[in-house]
């Protein structure tokens, strides 16, 4: 009987450990899988799930066998959704007029927390709004200049939302830019691709008030990705690479052209 009790105790310990691991595996997709995505991603793998957005819906696939994804569920999100970002158990989905926040439940299924309208009051939807998050703050770029022939009004700005309560995001800051597109974030630094106005580097030592500390022009920057201290910038026909220095500013390393 004593042995049985020990086995039970070990079994219980193993089950609890396994549960703990499962929760942990939903903690940080990036370090776990080693895959990093640009800010216009529409597919992400997190733990044993693949999440995919397509225009109006999000589909969750079981990828315990990565070679054989199986659909678990498909959910409606909203109109014209374009970007998918993961941060500490939250999925943030950017659409042309809203920021959607979902939380992954213990089974990895997205559960809606909020949908925040940008209140642009535009009748046309021909722009892009990727999102990044650090701690309690979401940084969203809004750009209507991208295809200016189809937009009557101009909104070209970086917005900061307090999402400490993901049910009720609060807009706390707006920074006007030329045509902000993709962006990347690290502790203390925010890198915003501002199309033909180049790359803008902000200090977010005060996360509520991004402060411009460097501009690198001479390129059409539309997306970027941070990999440790390496920043890769995507231009329409080239990739440019920079080293992130201690103060957050950038040093040019090289480019891959044509």
């Amino acid at each position: 009987m004593k042995i049985n009790a020990q086995i039970l105790a070990i079994a219980a310990f193993l089950i609890i450990s396994a549960m703990a691991c499962n929760v942990e595996s939903l903690g940080d997709s990036e370090t776990e899988s080693g895959t990093l995505s640009g800010s216009y991603a529409t597919m992400l793998t997190i733990g044993s799930h693949l999440y995919l957005i397509n225009d109006s819906q999000i589909t969750t696939y079981d990828i315990n066998d990565p070679k054989d994804p199986i659909i678990i569920t498909t959910q409606d999100v909203g109109f014209d959704i374009q970007s998918l970002y993961y941060y500490e158990g939250l999925l943030l989905i950017g659409s042309s007029n809203e920021m959607h926040i979902f939380e992954l439940d213990s089974q990895g299924i997205p559960q809606r927390k909020s949908a925040t309208n940008y209140n642009l009051n535009l009748t046309d939807f021909c722009f892009f709004e990727p999102i990044v998050v650090k701690n309690d703050y979401a940084y969203v770029t809004i750009a209507t200049r991208v295809i200016d022939i189809c937009s009557s009004a101009q909104f070209n700005e970086l917005r900061v939302y307090d999402i400490s309560n993901p049910n009720t995001p609060i807009l706390i800051k707006t920074v006007n830019l030329f045509c902000p597109r993709g962006l990347a974030i690290v502790d203390g630094g925010l890198y915003v691709c501002d199309d033909t106005a180049g790359l803008k580097i902000f200090s977010i030592e005060d996360p509520k008030a991004p402060l411009l500390i460097q501009t690198i022009d001479g390129m059409q920057a539309y997306d970027c990705i941070l990999k440790g201290d390496l920043l890769i910038v995507v231009c329409p026909d080239q990739l440019r690479q920079y080293k992130v220095l201690n103060d957050g500013t950038l040093e040019y390393l090289g480019s891959i052209q044509i």
């Binding site: 899988s33 080693g34 895959t35 990093l36 995505s37 640009g38 216009y40 991603a41 529409t42 597919m43 992400l44 793998t45 693949l50 995919l52 397509n54 225009d55 589909t59 990828i63 990565p66 070679k67 054989d68 994804p69 659909i71 997306d223 990705i225 990999k227 390496l230 890769i232 995507v234 231009c235 329409p236 026909d237 080239q238 990739l239 690479q241 080293k243 390393l253 090289g254 891959i256 052209q257 044509i258």
Partner: protein, 147 residues
């Protein structure tokens, strides 16, 4: 002008080829020391970035219609405009389609038009396949017009 098409189900056309020029870059993913970047509607450039000062294109994965993808270890998930493809990339030089989940996307109503051409043309119809190119010929219902 009228559009010509690739068949969606032409899995055999999905292959690893020598590097190509950048034309119109799309979405980006990194994994280990590699950068993967979409060439809109054509496939994915594979870059060896072990030395970021001298990043080097090493392969081009031909996936007609591709705009969206992610890398999960030895597996690539990529669209062809309509389907979600599961592709074995354990050997970057020889990629193999393992599975296709059909109709995971609404084929977008692409505002595509023939380059260097003015006038009426036959509209691109995504239900017929992936856009391959444009050719002259007898037009059926040329309801599209260049602006």
């Amino acid at each position: 002008m009228k559009p010509t098409y690739y068949a969606y189900e032409d899995w055999g056309s999905i292959i690893s080829e020598p590097p190509r020029d950048f034309e119109k870059l799309g979405k980006i993913v990194t994994y280990n020391n590699h950068i993967f970047i979409n060439e809109k509607y054509k496939g994915i450039h594979v870059i060896d970035n072990s030395d970021p000062v001298h990043g080097k294109k090493i392969y081009f994965w031909v996936i007609n219609g591709n705009t969206e993808f992610t890398v999960n270890g030895n597996v690539l998930y990529a669209n062809n405009g309509r389907d979600l493809l599961v592709i074995d990339i354990s050997d970057y030089a020889h990629i193999v389609v393992l599975k296709a989940l059909l109709n995971q996307y609404e084929p977008e109503k692409l505002k595509v038009y023939p380059a260097n051409y003015n006038g009426y043309f036959e509209c691109f119809d995504p239900s017929k396949g992936l856009l391959k190119g444009w050719e002259k010929g007898t037009l059926i219902n040329p309801n599209c017009k260049t602006i």
